[in-house]
């Protein structure tokens, strides 16, 4: 038996599997009891088995470094994170609600702009943003949906309450790792599955297929769907290939596609040009079409936006959807839910200070040591300052950055992220985690049961990004109460 279970305490934080007194929570009880029964060398061998499975299954991600790109094995902790279906169903309803409101917002922004006229969201923060794409104005995509795939980052505070930290509406990644994590756990801890009924995850590619197929401009039994990737050197290439394979779709690069004289998109295939109905694009919107956006893009398809505007091809996520993926816009999502849906938000936002507002900015500048400051427009955890963990120098640097460009910064209180038992250096220790569920919307909408759990492997660290040393866990939604 591994001794560290006895002394396991997550002081000051909400631990998802253990009570403050060091007993397992009801839903986690069976799993913890089983893990508890394993001798230290047995635990170590499960870890080795997990590493071996990852290598054999070829699960990797690419990290950019100065010395070139490295394909790294996926960092994984084999102890699953357990959430009850009761807690989950509430959260998933909240995520669907959010997604609906965000799509209403994007559709409104590129058409009537009612929410700006009514003064709910200040016009300048939307229209002056780099994410607002002028060429998309007036377009009416099917079902009024612009963002078809969203990955929202969820955290739990010291009481265990769920909060949305951000909504990724451009090219959210991680879903393939979510599915693979379950496969690894099945290999490494098969005994655990006997006593639990866990919601399955592996139908995601099917759900994605249905979401995309509903967008096809041509009524066909099997529309031609392609996954558009920037290529093998992209960090998420593994996932692009995984999803294409899972949907039975072609994995294409920009040079495989062209736009014909009739404004239709074709792929260059051995049977000659083949018309494409739906593009699931995994390249950033500014690289999609050198005619419409960045002229220097070599991974895009000239004329793609023209074809999309003419309704000859569907693109998911639609170009322009990124207008709602901005940490300043994020602060207005609860207002959007009220405005468009006339509903109360079911999941909360993390309280957010907008540095563009003078009052908020003054507060932020005098409380830099307590707050997390984030640029409005970065992803991957880059450019973030965690106040309590930063030096005075860094505080000063961020104060200058904020004063120079207040629109580009927001601040949030440092959250006491929840923890879960994690196997580190041969013992069981609490580590902070977050959760990224994926929400799909076109004709119907759907949320993954669970999501990708990312865990900060460094003691006390809150940074969970895999590019910065984070790991991940399998996430179980199980029948029963907490």
């Amino acid at each position: 038996m591994e001794e560290s279970w006895k002394t396991y305490r997550s002081e000051g934080f909400f631990d998802e599997s253990m009570t403050p007194r060091g007993n397992p929570r009801a839903a986690a009880n069976q799993a913890i009891k089983f893990l508890h029964s394993l001798a230290p060398d047995e635990l170590a061998s499960r870890r080795v088995a997990a590493e071996l499975a990852i290598k054999e299954m070829g699960i990797s991600f690419t990290v950019y470094t100065e010395g070139g790109n490295i394909d790294r094995a996926w960092p994984f902790d084999f102890i699953p994170r357990i959430i009850t279906s009761r807690e989950w169903s509430q959260l998933s309803l909240g995520l669907l609600q959010r997604m609906r409101a965000l799509n209403c917002f994007i559709d409104d922004i590129y058409n009537e702009q009612k929410i700006l006229a009514d003064g709910i969201v200040p016009a300048e923060i939307v229209l002056d943003s780099n994410n607002y794409l002028e060429p998309c104005a007036g377009v009416k995509p099917a079902f009024g949906v612009w963002a078809h795939v969203c990955g929202s980052d969820i955290v739990r505070d010291h009481k265990g309450q769920f909060f949305v930290l951000e909504d990724n509406l451009r090219v959210p990644s991680g879903v393939s790792y979510m599915i693979e994590n379950r496969e690894i756990t099945k290999r490494v801890l098969p005994e655990l599955f006997e006593n639990y009924s866990i919601l399955p995850l592996d139908d995601y590619p099917l759900k994605l297929y249905q979401t995309l197929a509903a967008l096809s401009p041509r009524a066909r039994r099997r529309p031609n769907i392609v996954v558009l990737t920037p290529g093998i050197y992209n960090a998420a290439y593994f996932e692009h290939a995984y999803l294409a394979h899972g949907m039975g779709a072609e994995l294409v690069e920009g040079s495989d596609l062209f736009v014909g004289e009739d404004d239709c998109v074709f792929m260059r295939s051995v049977d000659g040009p083949t018309r494409v109905d739906v593009i699931y694009r995994r390249i950033n919107e500014d690289f999609m079409d050198p005619e419409a956006f960045r002229e220097d893009s070599v991974v895009g398809v000239p004329g793609l936006i023209r074809s999309w505007k003419a309704g000859r091809v569907a693109i998911a996520n639609a170009p322009g959807a990124g207008v709602a993926d901005d940490k300043v816009i994020y602060a207005f999502v609860p207002d959007m839910i009220q405005y468009y849906l006339k509903e109360k938000p079911l999941v909360k936002n993390v309280p957010t200070y907008l540095c563009m507002r003078e009052k908020d900015r003054d507060y932020v500048l005098s409380n830099l040591d307590k707050l997390v400051v984030k640029p409005a427009n970065e992803s991957g955890g880059y450019g973030i300052m965690v106040g309590p963990h930063s030096t005075k120098e860094t505080h000063k640097k961020f104060a200058r950055l904020i004063e120079k460009n207040p629109r580009n910064y927001i601040a949030q209180p440092t959250l006491s992220l929840s923890t879960a038992p994690t196997y580190v250096d041969g013992s069981i220790q609490p580590r902070h985690l977050d959760l990224r569920p994926f929400i799909l919307q076109s004709k119907d909408s759907w949320v993954t049961p669970g999501g990708l759990t990312r865990v900060a492997l460094q003691k006390g660290s809150l940074v969970v990004n895999s590019s910065q040393g984070g790991g991940s866990k399998d996430t179980w939604i199980v029948e029963g109460d907490a």
Binding site: I232, A241, E250, S255, G260, F266, R268, V270
Partner: protein, 310 residues
């Protein structure tokens, strides 16, 4: 199937075949030199000639000797006929097409490439050479066997098969050209060794036992040339390869031009009579034949890999 994917599969297959063929040639020559008295063996550069690597070789090395030729073919990663170069090129092409191939394909090709990278530098010398070459050949065969037994007979299979057969036919013709030239050029004093030389050539084409069963133990030029070019049952004969290519191409759309090119190759094959050809005639024939093969490749490229924006 995407043109880009088809093209990569085609090249993957050609390079895989090239890896195996180069290993076979080096291996056969390696056996041969141990049987021949000093001075009777063909020059080391014969392999460089067969593999069409003379310009690169002379750029890279000053003198033609065992060490340098083996360095080029076994351990140099810059020559497009070398084992490291070929397997690396095959690997790069599988890396981006692995989703249309049986799952283990990528793993096996990747492992072979790692093996070559690690072991090749120490396999130039005579001591480790044989084991290394045998391992490379056997792993190539495993990969081909995997694809033959599990790959769905769709476009992917067609392009893989065409790539392999075209490379195989190309290699066989070059080997006969250079090999026959070398043997026929020798003066009478060493003609006692001719059967050994012809035997080595058949071995390099892995045609040794097939030839003996089909034709018999006696080897001479005309019989060998006929067997390598025209035998209809031996799966590495030029005729057999062309038949397979014609079959596969016929299943694809837009096959008119490439099939015409196959037809031209076919007609030339039938012109290869059994009567005595002089060495010069044989050389001219093979030269023209090679050009036809190149045109077939160009026609395939044009029909399926270069789909224009219509």
């Amino acid at each position: 199937m995407l043109s880009r994917v088809a093209e990569r599969l085609y090249w993957m297959s050609r390079y895989l075949e090239r890896t195996e063929d180069t290993a076979r040639i080096v291996s056969a020559y390696n056996h041969l030199i141990m049987d021949l008295p000093k001075g009777a063996e063909p020059g080391w550069d014969i392999m460089v000639q067969i593999l069409d690597a003379e310009p690169y070789f002379h750029q890279r090395f000053r003198s033609v000797n065992e060490q340098n030729v083996l360095k080029l073919l076994v351990a140099d990663d810059g020559a497009s006929c070398s084992i490291p170069y070929s397997i690396e090129a095959a690997r790069e092409n599988v890396r981006t097409t692995r989703d249309v191939l049986p799952e283990e394909t990528w793993e096996l090709v990747n492992e072979l490439s790692l093996f070559v990278r690690e072991v090749a530098p120490n396999s130039v010398g005579r001591r480790n050479r044989h084991a290394f070459l045998a391992e490379v050949i056997s792993r190539c065969q495993t990969i081909n066997g995997l694809m033959a037994s599990t790959l769905t007979r769709d476009h992917a299979y067609s392009f893989i098969k065409v790539g392999r057969l075209l490379e195989c036919a190309d290699m066989a013709t070059r080997m006969v050209d250079v090999g026959a030239g070398d043997i026929m050029d020798r003066d009478g004093s060493t003609s006692a060794f001719d059967p050994l030389l012809w035997g080595a050539m058949l071995q390099a084409l892995s045609a040794g036992s097939a030839y003996r069963r089909q034709v018999g133990p006696l080897v001479d030029r005309n019989a060998v040339v006929n067997f390598v070019f025209l035998d209809t049952a031996f799966p590495r004969s030029v005729k057999f390869c062309m038949q397979g290519i014609g079959q596969e191409l016929g299943r694809l759309t837009n096959h008119e031009e490439p099939l015409r090119a196959v037809g031209r190759v076919w007609r030339r094959l039938n012109r290869l009579t059994k009567e005595d050809m002089t060495q010069a005639e044989l050389h001219a024939f093979i030269d023209d034949f090679q050009q036809q093969l190149n045109q077939l490749h160009a026609a395939i490229e044009e029909a399926w890999f270069r789909v224009a924006s219509a």
